[in-house]
């Protein structure tokens, strides 16, 4: 993924403007170690300083209590990626306190913390250095305060485990006794502080359990759905089953008469693009004192929607149209290298194949919800499980005509993100309903609403053509990509980047594109682009290897070539992206081959096969091998999966890291096996988990993970391990059965070869 891609994927998740994500990048600069560095400016003197016996704030992230306990603010939303644990670990390491004395707390949305979002696997690369600097800045203040108290030179003092020591005299003083004096000192510039030698780490790199886990298992109310505020009502919000529909009439009087109902009213949508943009869509709000009463009343709700059907917006029509477009020239050229026509004409063998994958829903287990209180004085309180709180506040401000400075956003724990909660449609609904009723309200969707009002992972179609030399080596590669868009503009997360592999590694290459009109919202889902493209491209590369009589591992090693660092893409603003390193590709490919006994795969019993795939995304290099066979019922049986991952030299929290990789691999496995969203007459067909088959325990094979610690700055792990498993599974089924999977989901296969 190059920089254009990163910015594009971030902009994709915000249809109006790039918002906080773009700001994050415009203020990012290159750290000494080559990582992304966010320039964070802390206030020169801490707030609330100088009051003895009270907690003292060393900077907005660090609060030291007199008893030595330390509150550390986690600035980014916690969606299961572990940032509420990881970010405080970075601060605590450099602050030099014991982890057991740390209490991590979720920060409010506040510009003082810099960008606050969960997306793009950017939490680690953007914050790795700055959060350590924040901790080191706190430590520096405490050492200065101790030196002043003892009237000794600062360089004779150092810190460890929550105390400052004076080396020559052996004296020590705990942080708790220094904090109020330290907080009154001028804060050092973050760039001026010295960071630890990694060999001295006591927290970074240690298995550290999630900071909220004990409370989650105690049943404490941490999630958005658990929020309760004084005098709160509950609401359901019924939106048009056909996206963008408007209300002609609704039986509101009948609804208002039902037991427990406080109000029922129409909320007008914010405009014709509200559905596609995930803004305020038109709907009926039903408000009650108990959510179940509102939900029960909804069953009696009758709304005439206009339009109530859109026959041309159907999966079957899209399929038909895509097949027609594939027989024509692409509407646009994305990339053209060399001369594909000539290379194909002289190739020893020409291979063509068509790949398709469906729309998908995010299906976060916590349904969309938000609690809001728009007060009479014009101030707004919002409690939201969101990945992008700043954009949510902007959406509320813009839609309701409120000064954004009067909106307070409390970030709750988030019951699954996967990209769904980069959008804030539920937030603007709660705010608008609260404004109308003049009370605090919790809006909660049911599962069917959640399936029917998502920003879906876009479907897509690829017509591939490859030319192979007599040696089997590819000499030409072409993709005609049929995707979706609005009025010819490619929809959110529906693009094919010009640098998608094998671009740049096969001399004659052409990527073309044609766009189908789609009036269904799309958006980023965990590894946007990659979660679909990897399946198509890495499966077709496997086809090329088999057609050319080459080992799929050898073909990839040959295509990527000898270890080398490719020229870094030109900086965009202050953003610099780590350059692509073919040595890191080779490293994980060779490691996963070793882990999976790839070279001995021919000794497996008949009907069992190994499949391999590699994918680079979000700065991470991941190779995976799947071992699979076909069960008697025609269902694929996955025996085991191996993943080799290079995200740099430091695994910050191994507890979270292995879990993220195993989870991402199984998430991708479930997509490949079962997941499918169908559009029919403008509506989504699937309604619940009985028709959208998320992976279950009995289908979850063992996943063995190893990290290859290359000497590079650490990068994120929420996303990069997902894409390779889809093609690796399909390639394994080909090896096992001779049947090539070119359409997802796999479902059940007949055991006869294709």
């Amino acid at each position: 993924m190059n920089e254009t891609d990163v910015v594009e994927s971030l902009e994709n998740r915000h249809p109006h403007a790039a918002g906080v994500s773009r700001r994050a990048f415009l203020t990012a600069s290159l750290a000494a170690g080559g990582g992304l560095l966010l320039t964070l400016h802390l206030p020169p003197v801490a707030r609330a300083a100088g009051v003895p016996a009270a907690p003292a704030e060393l900077n907005p992230f660090i609060l030291i209590h007199p008893d030595g306990m330390v509150t550390i603010m986690a600035k980014n939303p916690e969606i299961g990626q572990g940032m509420k644990t990881t970010l405080p670990m970075l601060i605590a390491e450099e602050l030099d306190v014991e982890w057991k004395s740390v209490h991590a707390e979720q920060a409010l949305l506040d510009p003082i913390y810099g960008p606050q979002f969960a997306g793009g696997s950017l939490g680690t690369p953007l914050n790795w250095i700055p959060m350590q600097q924040v901790g080191a800045a706190g430590r520096t203040l405490l050492i200065e305060a101790a030196a002043a108290r003892w009237r000794v030179p600062v360089h004779e003092c150092d810190a460890a485990r929550g105390k400052v020591y004076h080396r020559p005299s052996g004296r020590s003083v705990p942080y708790g006794a220094l904090a109020s004096a330290a907080a009154a000192l001028p804060a050092p510039a973050l760039e001026s502080v010295t960071l630890k030698n990694p060999k001295d780490y006591t927290i970074i790199g240690k298995f550290t359990g999630g900071v909220d886990s004990p409370q989650v298992l105690a049943g404490d109310p941490l999630f958005g759905i658990d929020v309760r505020v004084e005098q709160m009502s509950y609401a359901v919000y019924e939106q048009s089953p056909v996206f963008g529909g408007r209300i002609v009439r609704a039986n509101l009087a009948e609804i208002r008469a039902l037991p427990g109902i406080r109000a029922a009213f129409i909320v007008r949508g914010s405009g014709p693009d509200a559905a596609i943009d995930m803004g305020l869509t038109e709907g009926v709000a039903i408000v009650a004192d108990r959510w179940w009463d509102a939900q029960k009343a909804r069953r009696k709700l009758r709304i005439d929607w206009d339009p109530h059907t859109r026959p041309e917006q159907s999966t079957s029509v899209f399929q038909h149209e895509a097949e027609r477009l594939m027989r024509t020239a692409p509407q646009a050229v994305i990339r053209r290298d060399g001369n594909v026509e000539a290379a194909l004409a002289s190739a020893a063998r020409v291979l063509t194949a068509t790949y398709t994958y469906p729309f998908l829903a995010h299906a976060t287990l916590e349904p969309q919800n938000c609690t809001a209180h728009v007060k009479r004085d014009g101030s707004v309180q919002i409690w939201a499980p969101t990945q992008a709180p700043a954009e949510g506040a902007q959406l509320v401000a813009r839609t309701l005509g409120i000064d954004p400075g009067r909106i307070t956003v409390h970030m709750t724990r988030v019951g699954g993100g996967f990209g769904r909660r980069l959008h804030n449609d539920y937030m603007v609904q709660a705010a608008m309903i609260s404004k109308r009723i003049g009370r605090a309200v919790k809006v909660l969707w049911d599962r069917t609403q959640d399936f029917h009002h998502d920003a879906y992972r876009p479907a897509g179609f690829h017509k591939f053509t490859a030319g192979l030399a007599a040696s089997g080596r590819p000499v030409a590669f072409r993709d005609h990509f049929i995707t979706f868009g609005q009025n010819g503009r490619v929809a959110s997360s529906a693009g094919l980047p010009g640098h998608e592999f094998p671009a740049g590694f096969i001399a004659n290459l052409e990527y073309g594109q044609s766009v189908l009109q789609l009036d269904v919202p799309t958006g980023p889902m965990r590894n946007p682009g990659g979660n679909a493209l990897a399946f198509a491209f890495e499966s077709f590369i496997d086809e090329m290897a088999h057609a050319g009589g080459l080992d799929p591992l050898a073909l990839r090693l040959d295509l990527y070539g000898p270890p080398r660092v490719l020229p870094a893409p030109p900086p965009q603003g202050a953003l610099r992206i780590p350059p692509f390193d073919t040595g890191r590709v080779r490293g994980v490919l060779e490691l996963v081959a070793h882990m999976s006994h790839w070279a001995q795969r021919h000794t497996l019993p008949a009907g069992t096969g190994l499949g391999l795939a590699f994918y680079y995304s979000h700065f991470g290099y991941v190779a995976e091998v799947v071992k699979a066979s076909l069960g008697h019922d025609g269902a694929p049986k996955v025996h085991q999966i191996w993943a080799a991952v290079d995200i740099g030299r430091q695994i910050i929290n191994p507890a979270g890291a292995y879990n993220q990789v195993q989870g991402a691999v199984l998430d991708g496995l479930g997509q490949a096996l079962h997941l499918l969203i169908t559009v029919d007459n403008g509506r989504i067909v699937q309604r619940n988990f009985d028709t959208y088959h998320l992976l279950r325990m009995r289908e979850a094979p063992p996943v063995e993970v190893r990290f290859l610690r290359s000497d590079n700055p650490p990068t994120g792990l929420g996303e990069p391990a997902l894409p390779p498993v889809l093609p690796a599974l399909c390639n394994a089924l080909y090896a096992a059965t001779g049947r090539r999977i070119r359409s997802l989901p796999i479902g059940r296969l007949r055991s006869t070869a294709a």
């Binding site: 976060t364 699954g416 599962r447 006994h597 479930g670 325990m697 094979p701 063992p702």
Partner: protein
């Protein structure tokens, strides 16, 4: 209607329609929000509680059907020795990612171990496959159940060990 139901060892009086699912009585009336709403059709297991020790889906259980049975939710699972062992194993292995399903997972796992203290991998598959983990933490859920049972955490299904 008025119902007296026994939850986590306490008698609780609730005013509710007879058909209101137990889940919403727990969450919104009794403020026991540890039990989660996921699907409303008994397809995901996020709402799992114990009814006389058996795991049930509270999202489809009308409050009127509880009768004199003892309900235990995640807030009361520490009263069970198996519940404490399961929670402790969950924390030791850092099972959760987003955590939303985990109360339901712990309730189902506790019920499994209470009736079968030495589950095989097949037993775990059978007992746990009604509980969706959207983050797919299944590897660690399996290991944590075995750890709570005092069993080796290695996967005994077909695995190539080096």
């Amino acid at each position: 209607m008025r119902f007296t139901i026994r939850i986590n060892g306490r008698q609780r009086l609730v005013h509710s329609d007879a058909d209101t699912p137990l889940l919403w009585v727990l969450r919104d009336d009794l403020r026991l929000t540890g039990t989660k709403f996921g699907c409303g059709i008994a397809a995901c297991g996020a709402c799992t509680v114990h009814l006389d020790g058996l795991p049930i889906r509270s999202c489809v259980t009308p409050v009127s059907a509880v009768g004199t049975a003892e309900i235990v939710t995640i807030e009361g699972i520490d009263r069970s020795a198996w519940g404490r062992r399961v929670k402790s194993a969950w924390l030791d292995l850092d099972v959760m990612q987003c955590g939303y399903c985990q109360a339901g997972q712990v309730m189902t796992a506790t019920a499994l171990l209470t009736r079968n203290p030495h589950p095989t991998d097949a037993d775990i598959d059978e007992a746990m496959s009604g509980n969706i983990c959207r983050c797919c933490t299944y590897t660690r859920i399996r290991a944590a159940i075995k750890r709570a049972a005092g069993l080796p955490t290695t996967d005994t299904r077909e695995v190539d060990h080096e």
